[in-house]
C-alpha cells in the first residue's frame, strides 16, 4: 500500500468521529500552546530584566566602599581624582558620588528624605540621567562649590506645582540652591526614585553636608562595552595602590564582579609584592575595602536566573503535553476496538501488519500534528497580549520543538494501540460485531 493511501485511510479514520478527534486535538493543543506560551513568558520577563539592567549603562562600573577599612585608606575625593588622572587604558571617566538624604523645601512646600547626590558634571555622561530642561552645573561652579542644583522631574513638580522650577530657589537643610536644570523622567531601577533627587556639585555637598571623608561610591565608564572586564582589572590594580591594599588580600573568588582576579594577577607582576602571597591567597573578596560591580555581571546573573525560570515554566507545560499525549493513546485504543471488524476486512483482502500499523500510526500522528499546529496558532495569538505585566516574546526554536515533541508523542503513544490492531488475527477480528 502506498504512503498516500495510508494517509488517506488515516484521514478517513480521523474524520469518522469528529467530536472525539477534536477533543483529542484539544488536549494536544493545550499542551503545545502552553509550552510555547510559557516559554515566551519566561523569555519576555528575561528580556525585560535585561533591558532594565542595560538601561543602567552596560559600560558603567560602580566602585563602592565596603565600609570596613582594614587599615587601608578610604575612598575620598582625592583618590577619585587620582584614579581619574591615572590614565587607565580602558577607563574613560571616573565620577565621584557623595550621597546623603535630607529635607528639601521650596517657599510653598517641602519634601523629606530626598537623596542629595554630590558629584561632578561628568555624572550626566556616565549615568543614565539626562537633563530635560536647563543645563548641568559647570566645572567652574563645581570648583567654586556654588549652590546650584539639577533636580528630578517628580521633585520639580512637587516643589513647584504651579510653574517651572527652573531658576527657582530650593532650600536644602538651610542652604538655598538655585535650580539650573531638571532631569528627564526615568524608570526606576533600584530602591530610590531617580525622579526625586537633587544633584549638586560635590564640593558643595561635602562642605555643607557629608564632610570630606569617604565617598559613597565612584562611577566609572569603560571606553567600550567589550572593555568592561579589562577596566575592572585596571581600576582594581590602581585602587589597591592608591588605598595601600596589599595585593595578597585580592584573591580570585567573586561572583559579584569585583576586580580581584585581574587585579591580583597584574598587581603581582607590577609590584612584586606577591612573593608569599600564594600562601594566604584564599582570603575572600570581602576583605578588600571596596567592590566593583558592572551591569554586565548583573546581566549574567539575571540571565542565569531567567533561564532557570524559563526551564521551570517549560517543564510545567511539558507535563500538560504529556497528558495530551496520553489522551491520544486512550482515543486510539478506543478507535482500534471500535474498528476491529474493519481491521479484519482489511486483513482478509490482503493488508499486511505493516499496512495496518501504518494506518493507525498515521492517524495518531495526524491528530497530534493538527492539534500541535492549532496550539502554535493559539500561542502566537495569546503572546500578543501582556500576561501579568510581561510581554511574552516567543522563542523561535520553541515552535518546531513543541510541534516535533507533540508528533513524537503521538507516534510514541500510538504505537501500542496500532500494534494491537496490527497483531489481530483476521478470523477473530472478522467475528467481532
Amino acid at each position: 500500500m502506498k504512503f498516500g493511501d495510508i494517509l488517506l485511510s488515516a484521514l478517513r479514520g480521523v474524520t469518522a468521529n469528529k467530536l472525539r478527534s477534536i477533543l483529542t486535538m484539544l488536549g494536544v493543543l493545550i499542551g503545545v500552546g502552553a509550552v510555547i506560551l510559557l516559554m515566551a513568558v519566561g523569555n519576555g520577563s528575561a528580556q525585560r530584566v535585561n533591558s532594565l539592567i542595560t538601561s543602567l549603562g552596560t559600560n558603567t562600573l560602580t566602585i563602592r566602599a565596603n565600609g570596613q577599612s582594614s587599615g587601608s585608606q578610604e575612598i575620598t575625593l582625592a583618590v577619585s581624582k587620582k584614579l581619574a588622572a591615572a590614565g587607565l587604558g580602558h577607563v574613560k571617566l571616573v565620577v565621584p558620588e557623595a550621597t546623603t538624604s535630607l529635607t528639601v523645601s521650596s517657599t510653598s512646600t517641602s519634601e523629606s528624605d530626598v537623596s542629595i547626590i554630590g558629584t561632578t558634571p561628568a555624572y550626566f555622561s556616565v549615568s543614565t540621567a539626562t537633563i530635560a530642561s536647563g543645563a548641568s552645573f559647570t566645572d567652574a561652579e563645581d570648583t567654586a562649590a556654588d549652590k546650584v542644583a539639577v533636580i528630578g522631574s517628580t521633585l520639580a513638580t512637587e516643589l513647584f506645582p504651579t510653574g517651572s522650577a527652573l531658576g527657582q530657589a530650593i532650600t536644602v537643610d538651610g542652604d538655598s540652591f538655585t535650580v539650573v536644570g531638571i532631569l528627564a523622567t526615568q524608570t526606576s531601577t533600584g530602591f530610590t526614585d531617580p525622579n526625586s533627587e537633587v544633584i549638586a556639585p560635590i564640593t558643595r555637598v561635602q562642605r555643607s553636608y557629608t564632610g570630606f571623608g569617604a565617598l559613597t561610591e565612584l562611577m566609572a565608564e569603560a571606553k567600550t562595552s567589550g572593555g568592561v572586564t579589562a577596566a575592572e582589572g585596571e581600576l582594581g590594580v590602581e585602587l589597591n595602590q592608591l588605598l595601600g591594599v596589599s595585593a595578597t588580600t585580592s584573591s580570585n573568588t567573586s561572583s559579584t564582579g569585583t576586580a580581584t582576579g585581574a587585579a591580583g594577577a597584574t598587581g603581582a607582576g607590577r609590584a612584586g609584592r606577591t612573593r608569599g602571597a600564594a600562601a594566604s591567597g584564599a582570603t575572600s573578596a570581602s576583605s578588600l575595602p571596596y567592590s566593583i560591580t558592572s551591569a554586565s555581571t548583573l546581566l549574567s546573573t539575571a540571565e542565569a536566573s531567567a533561564t532557570s525560570f524559563t526551564v521551570l515554566l517549560a517543564a510545567v507545560a511539558a507535563i500538560s503535553l504529556l497528558v495530551g499525549g496520553i489522551g491520544v493513546t486512550n482515543v486510539m485504543l478506543v478507535t482500534v476496538t471500535e474498528r476491529t471488524r474493519e481491521i479484519g476486512i482489511r486483513k482478509a483482502v490482503g493488508a499486511t501488519r505493516g499496512a495496518i500499523l501504518g494506518q493507525f500510526l498515521a492517524e495518531a500522528a495526524i491528530l497530534t500534528l493538527l492539534g500541535g499546529i492549532l496550539g502554535v496558532i493559539v500561542a502566537v495569538f495569546l503572546s500578543q497580549f501582556e500576561i501579568d505585566g510581561t510581554q511574552p516574546v516567543i522563542i523561535g526554536y520553541s515552535i518546531p520543538l513543541a510541534l516535533g515533541v507533540s508528533v513524537a508523542i503521538g507516534v510514541f503513544f500510538g504505537v501500542y494501540p496500532a500494534g494491537r490492531a496490527a497483531r489481530m488475527r483476521p478470523i477473530q477480528a472478522l467475528r467481532s460485531i
Binding site: 478517513r12 474493519e342 482489511r346 486483513k347 482478509a348 483482502v349 499486511t352 472478522l430
Partner: protein
C-alpha cells in the same frame, strides 16, 4: 467449461490430511479430522453441512485466514501451510476473493473505494485501480452506484459490491461464506445468477452454505459432517447452462 471427471487430477487447490484442533486439554475441539480435497480450475463447488460440522473452519483454512494444525494445503502451486503471516497476507490479496455472509464492506468508503481496496494493498497504481474497480462494479451491475456508501445500499447491492471486490484482483479462487444468508429471496436470486455467470466464465468458486437452493446451483457438492467429508457428488447434468 470445466466439469469434474477425476478428483485425483492435480487442481488449483489441494488439501491433504488436514486436521484442525482448537484449545488444549479437556476443552480441546477436533474441528477437522483429516480432510482430503482437490478443487480444479473452473470448479463450481458447494461445501454443505450442518452447523458445527467444521465447514467454517474449512472456509478459514481455504481462505488462508487460519493455518491448519497438521496436513498440507497447496494453493496455486505454493504450499500455504508453511507460510508466515506476511506471505499469507499476500496470498489472500492475490489468490483469494472473499465474499462474506455479512458483506463486510468498510463503512465510510464508497462502493468504488471498497472495490479497489484489495488493489490498494496490492500496490496497484491509482488510475489503474479506479479502472479495474469500475470494471468489476460493471460486471455486477452496480457501476451507477459507485459513489454510494454501504449504508446507502440495499443488502443485495452491498453483496454485489463485495463480489466486485472479490473479483477485482482476478483471484485464483472465489470463496463465499453463506453469501445469501442475510438476503431476501429476490436478492438471493440475483446473487446466485452472478455466481452462475462467473462459473460460466470459468472462475473457480467455492461456496460454503447450508441452503439446498444454493447447493443445487453448484456443479459439485461436497458434504461435510463432524470434520470429515461424507459425500462428493457431481451435478454435471444440471446447471451447465447459466441461469438467467
Amino acid at each position: 467449461m470445466a466439469t469434474s471427471q477425476a478428483v485425483t487430477e492435480t487442481g488449483v487447490l489441494e488439501l491433504r490430511g488436514i486436521h484442525q484442533l482448537y484449545g488444549t486439554g479437556d476443552a480441546q475441539v477436533h474441528a477437522l479430522r483429516g480432510i482430503d480435497l482437490t478443487v480444479k480450475a473452473g470448479d463450481y463447488l458447494a461445501i454443505m453441512g450442518p452447523s458445527g460440522s467444521g465447514k467454517s473452519t474449512l472456509m478459514n483454512l481455504l481462505g488462508c485466514l487460519d493455518v491448519a494444525s497438521s496436513g498440507t494445503y497447496v494453493l496455486a502451486g505454493s504450499d500455504v501451510s508453511e507460510m508466515d503471516e506476511r506471505q499469507l497476507a499476500i496470498v489472500r490479496n492475490r489468490e483469494i476473493g472473499f465474499i462474506f455472509q455479512s458483506f463486510n464492506l468498510v463503512p465510510r468508503m464508497t462502493a468504488l473505494q471498497n472495490a479497489e481496496l484489495p488493489l490498494a494493498y496490492g500496490g496497484v497504481r491509482y488510475a489503474e485501480r479506479k479502472r479495474r474497480a469500475m470494471e468489476a462494479l460493471e460486471m455486477v451491475g452496480l457501476s451507477h452506484r459507485a459513489d454510494h456508501r454501504p449504508q446507502q445500499l440495499s443488502g443485495g447491492q452491498q453483496q454485489r459490491v463485495a463480489i466486485a471486490r472479490a473479483l477485482v484482483t482476478g483471484p485464483t479462487l472465489i470463496l463465499a461464506d453463506e453469501p445469501t444468508g442475510n438476503l431476501d429471496s429476490e436478492s438471493t436470486h440475483e446473487i446466485l445468477a452472478i455466481f452462475d455467470q462467473l462459473a460460466a466464465q470459468g472462475r473457480t468458486i467455492v461456496i460454503i452454505t447450508h441452503e439446498d437452493a444454493v447447493g443445487d446451483r453448484a456443479h459439485r457438492v461436497v458434504t461435510i459432517s463432524d470434520g470429515l467429508i461424507t459425500g462428493d457428488h457431481l451435478h454435471a447434468d444440471k446447471n451447465l447452462e447459466p441461469v438467467r
